[in-house]
Symmetry: C2
Subunit: 705 residues, 2 copies
């Protein structure tokens, strides 16, 4: 990251508005007005061929005419003029271009957009946009955009891929009382992308939480890497989760990998907290920008109403934070701050009689207690108590406790008085919400952040006992034979080159060869047709299982060959696979897709109906270390199967996790070749007995023409 250049772009000390106008209604007018109204303290240089003055400012005919230095140029001229402007800006020594102008890749003019970036880079400039609203920063008193005003001040930063949404959210901050220091419109992301902004905002002193509205990411790997390194919480609303899945997939894994599942996996791995909708993005941003992560599972809830207490209990379970009872000493102490009919369990019910004192005393005690990892304080507005009083009691308790690094969130249900008290709380650093569910969800975001962050540090160690060259040689052979499919046998050989536990399998081209191999392997034997032109082997009558003798082998060979020819007379038949029949165990499926955004991505699921009917699978962007692959095993609904059900012994999850990590390395090493792959089924045995891949499939990337 070139900090100086990005600072120039995003916290400019001087701004030129290229295409500035004195005509209200024009964007070139609005941007200048925005800068003036935001009381921007650096020089503003309107650029207009006519010169003169614009909105009382000295205008220049070109940036080259400007006497002082220019950090950032907001460009609002027609698209076709932008390359010329970029060149002049480069010559002038401008650091960054805020290309508000539209009419680039979003209308198909990719070359024009590329041209602007090329010019900019020649001069060491960075480009934000094009097709954006601009940038807004409270701490810099800088509204270099056509949004009408700066957002409510706060410590979050929004990066939005939708300009319309940014403008609407900007206005909305004053209603929702969620403060932002910065709002950055990212538009077509021709140059500066989410990763750049995450990196830059992470070092920005005015930002405590990075909030993203994402429609699509260009370079998923870079995004993940930057997010992983970030020291500040990142919360993302990813839209378009339902739009995907249109591409026809050739493998099982391919058909199961929707954009949402891969995005969820990638964001989790990168330590990014997800938001489910716009309200949730605001609500979670508020908590993440004001409170520390929740690093343990002991959530305590204080309330003055049983009803909201029960609702919060339901929510806690819903969001993965089921309540536990506090230890006896905590209960005994809390019992002192409530009437006889109150409850010191969890939720702690101070009863409707609770006023400021009870709230303050119990909050101070609970917040200060080491058992409590996080505190949710609920309040139902009553006629007898003053919400502002309660709010002040809560704040005083937090201050008096001397505790740092422990999250607290609040929910007041009530009318205008409660709203005012909650505004006061938020201004004093305590997130407050108008219903318990939202408060608990915000606390869950603080927990997810802590969990994801821990996960993001899980290391992958590259294995050295793999033979990448051999794997590549096998693939090269397939490529050399024209654009044909990789056969089962070839796929297995690639897997074997990576030390994956493939069941003993050999290729036989004649009946005699098959018999000889079977005799050498021992019975029972499975035999399968081997042809790049027959992918659905069972449908073609090309599979025989449980063969017990040489006679059966010979008969099966003949039958399979006859069936295959009948199924597809033109098929290029390589012979059969003769394979030792794997003993019975638990069927699982491993697989991979080469995701357009995130690259090689690993899938795991249980086999059979679990994958076919229930689609009970989980993804991780590869490569992944064993700690992470172990977590995949418990992600799926069918996880208890691996632990052993109906009295069965637990499966060899350690071996399974190792295989998954190894597989993830294979698909990364060979990412330029493998588009999709499956090990389906793989059979997993009892603890210590390992696992065994029975069938294998690799689908190569299409050749570049």
């Amino acid at each position: 990251m070139d900090l100086e250049v990005l600072n120039g772009l995003l916290r400019p000390k001087s701004v030129a508005v290229v295409g500035a106008s004195d005509t209200p209604g024009k964007i070139g007018y609005t941007v200048v007005r925005s800068l003036l109204e935001s009381k921007y303290e650096g020089p503003i240089y309107p650029i207009n061929p006519k010169g003169g003055t614009i909105q009382g400012l000295q205008a220049y005919t070109s940036v080259l005419e400007v006497p002082g230095e220019i950090d950032a140029a907001a460009v609002v001229v027609p698209a076709k003029l932008v390359p010329q402007v970029a060149t002049e800006c480069g010559q002038k020594g401008v650091k960054g271009l805020i290309v508000i102008a539209s009419g680039f890749s979003e209308v198909g003019l990719h070359d024009l957009e590329d041209q602007v970036v090329t010019i900019a880079h020649e001069y060491g400039m960075r480009v934000l946009g094009p097709n954006i609203v601009g940038i807004l920063s409270n701490s810099d008193k800088c509204n270099a955009s056509f949004a009408p005003f700066l957002p409510l001040a706060g410590s979050a930063a929004l990066v939005s891929q939708s300009g319309a949404l940014l403008i609407a959210m900007d206005a909305s901050t004053y209603i929702r009382r969620v403060g932002f220091d910065k709002m950055i419109s990212i538009g077509n992301m021709s140059d500066v992308d989410f990763a750049d902004l995450i990196e830059w905002l992470d070092q920005d002193a005015s930002t405590e939480c990075v909030s993203l509205y994402i429609e699509g990411i260009r370079d998923g790997r870079r995004f993940m890497e930057t997010a992983r390194k970030a020291g500040k919480p990142i919360v993302a609303l990813k839209s378009g989760v339902s739009a995907h899945g249109a591409a026809a997939a050739a493998s099982h894994t391919g058909s199961l990998a929707g954009a949402q599942k891969v995005y969820d996996a990638a964001f989790g791995q990168a330590g990014v907290v997800m938001a489910s909708d716009l309200n949730n993005l605001f609500d979670r941003t508020l908590a993440l920008s004001l409170q520390p992560p929740l690093t343990g599972d002991n959530l305590l809830i204080l309330t003055n109403g049983g009803g909201v207490g029960v609702l919060a209990t339901d929510s806690a379970e819903r969001y993965g934070l089921p309540l536990r009872f506090a230890p006896k000493d905590v209960q005994v102490e809390l019992k002192k701050h409530m009437p006889e009919f109150g409850s010191a369990k969890n939720p702690v019910d101070l009863t409707g009689m609770a006023g400021r004192d009870w709230y303050q005393d119990s909050t101070q005690y609970a917040y200060g207690h080491s058992w409590v990892d996080g505190l949710v304080v609920l309040y139902c507005e009553t006629a007898m108590t003053d919400p502002q009083n309660i709010a002040e009691g809560i704040k005083a308790a937090v201050d008096a406790s001397g505790v740092k690094g422990k999250p607290i969130v609040v929910s007041f249900v009530g009318g205008e008085r409660s709203e005012a008290a909650m505004r006061w709380l938020v201004e004093n650093g305590i997130p407050a919400y108008n219903e318990p569910d939202t408060a608990v969800n915000a606390m869950a975001a603080l927990r997810e952040y802590a969990r994801n962050k821990a996960k993001a540090s899980n290391g992958f160690t590259k294995l050295t006992d793999v033979d990448e060259a051999k794997a590549r040689a096998i693939i090269a052979q397939v490529r050399a034979a024209g654009d044909r499919n990789v056969t089962e046998m070839e796929s297995k050989m690639v897997f074997e080159a990576y030390g994956l536990p493939v069941v003993t399998s050999r290729q036989a081209t004649t009946e005699d060869e098959a018999a000889e191999m079977a005799n050498a392997m021992g019975y029972p034997i499975v035999m399968k047709i081997l042809s790049p032109d027959i992918l659905h082997k069972s449908d073609a009558g090309g599979v025989k299982v449980g063969l017990e003798s040489e006679a059966e082998i010979r008969e099966a060979f003949r039958t399979i060959m006859a069936n295959a020819k009948a199924y597809n007379a033109n098929a290029d038949i390589h012979g059969v696979v003769v394979q030792k029949m794997a003993p019975w165990g638990t069927e699982v499926i491993l697989g991979s897709v080469n995701d357009a955004t995130f690259g090689p991505t690993l899938m795991f699921g249980l086999g059979g109906i679990f994958v076919e009917v229930l689609k009970d699978v989980t993804f991780r962007v590869a490569p992944v270390g064993v700690e992470e692959t172990l977590s995949m095993l418990s992600d799926i609904n069918g996880a208890p199967i691996l632990k052993g059900v109906r009295g069965e012994a637990p499966r060899d999850t350690k071996a399974l996790a190792d295989v998954l990590s190894r597989y993830s390395q294979m698909i990364c090493d060979l990412a330029d070749e493998i588009q999709e792959s499956d090990a389906n089924p793989m059979i997993v045995y009892e603890e210590g007995a390992g696992a065994c891949i029975v069938d294998a499939r690799i689908i190569l990337k299409p050749r570049k023409s």
Copy 2:
């Protein structure tokens, strides 16, 4: 329903406040003040032993002293005095008691509470409460409660089991802009319960939607029956969903039936729409109180911003209303109301340039088109457009269309101007929300309402080819033998009495008998130990399957007997079950619980891991007709299994649905006897080949001591 009495209680023409006071801070003071401040137009009679005047009103020492008639008496005296007050009210001819006083069953004094109800009923009075806030009604200008003011006026009615929440929600209506005509606190529900209020509100001219906050229901059946009959939408927030599951269950079904699953089933069957949290209750209430149900699946979305359009698309999928493209003619027409780069697909993107005219024209066209079942209009606040203008355009379009009975909801994302425009829309009957997700969720509520209502009318026809007497005789025999378990054989006989397809099974007490039966049935045979003291037959070595000959039968008999004695020397052994081995098919499980709230409740799921690991089961309150049992078959995640996977033929779902309906009749007829039951497994065959119950289990209700 005694309409006159309930009218007297809930829309009183005159109110006595028994325990009225002139001392601020006392509830007896607050209730009188509430009535005065709500500008209640009927006479208010403060009752206080001291007489005199209270807050300027003539007070009386007893209701018996009051000169005029009294419809309702709000009772705020200490609990122990309430029976006396009730008696006097009865003598006076009061219609209903609003027992605000607490200190009854909620502190264990059940008898005192019962006594009040008994007295009331003697005099034909109804009792609301005790332990309540009171009643509030805008249309009656009546705040007979200690809540400080009437809610924002509107057409919904809230019934709340939590007083604190009612007061908080009351205040909250002014912030959330969701209007209520009535708020009724239901407290301990000693007499008037949810069902009474649903029935009464359904005929109340000022109520369009009934909104419930429920912690628990007493009589689930009556609740369902009343809700089913209601002509107005009912939306319920049920809290305490995570609290259940404590009771130890003896059957499979028992262990799977959590309160939430049964409540969800019951509410769905009764046509009640569920709310997930407090915000959702308000949001859904708003839509249901202002808009008609959504009777089809064709939702069209209009927007001025791609971002909110994509978010709404995601939400539509999330809430079970996936978007479809509108027909060509609709697209062609809509295309006229947008610039070239707009989109007439779904969402229809009018682009950020859309002002009032485009919104109005496209809304009017879309709302009027027969393909469109419901319309969601989204708007992102822009600097160039005026939200109020857009709002007026939408409203004008709806009015001009002349269309009735088609729902429309709106979402404006923006600041104060958008908020004001949305308030205006709501005041003009169009629900408006500050983010697209909430708007789409509200539309989903209108769809759920239509679907649930259709479902609620599904009839159950009582079968006559059942032998209830025989079933009862078998159970009586078990009862007569002491408090022992019902054996498999006895359970099967009960099932058979109800015409359920039990596999041919007979009881053999000797080896010879077993051999003879097996020879008569034909092989293969399954043999199982039969003892009320051995419930886990496999664990006891008491099951032998696949017996193919008389010799095997004889050996199995001896082994089973020996194993059983070794397992439990004191077991009362009835012999063995000799059973024809059912051919292979798809395993399912049927079962029942006698739910504490809803009574006999039917469960269905796929067998094996589906039930054991995935808990993939569905419930219905019994009895249920075939249309509804068919819907159970598609409720489960494993539903595709029944349709046939991996090339298998579809299962006989018709037979399965018939069996489920028949089973539901059995558990209703014998509800006084059967606590839980399982048919596990039942094997279902191909279409036309029916189903067959292989194992059966009935757990009787504990005897009343």
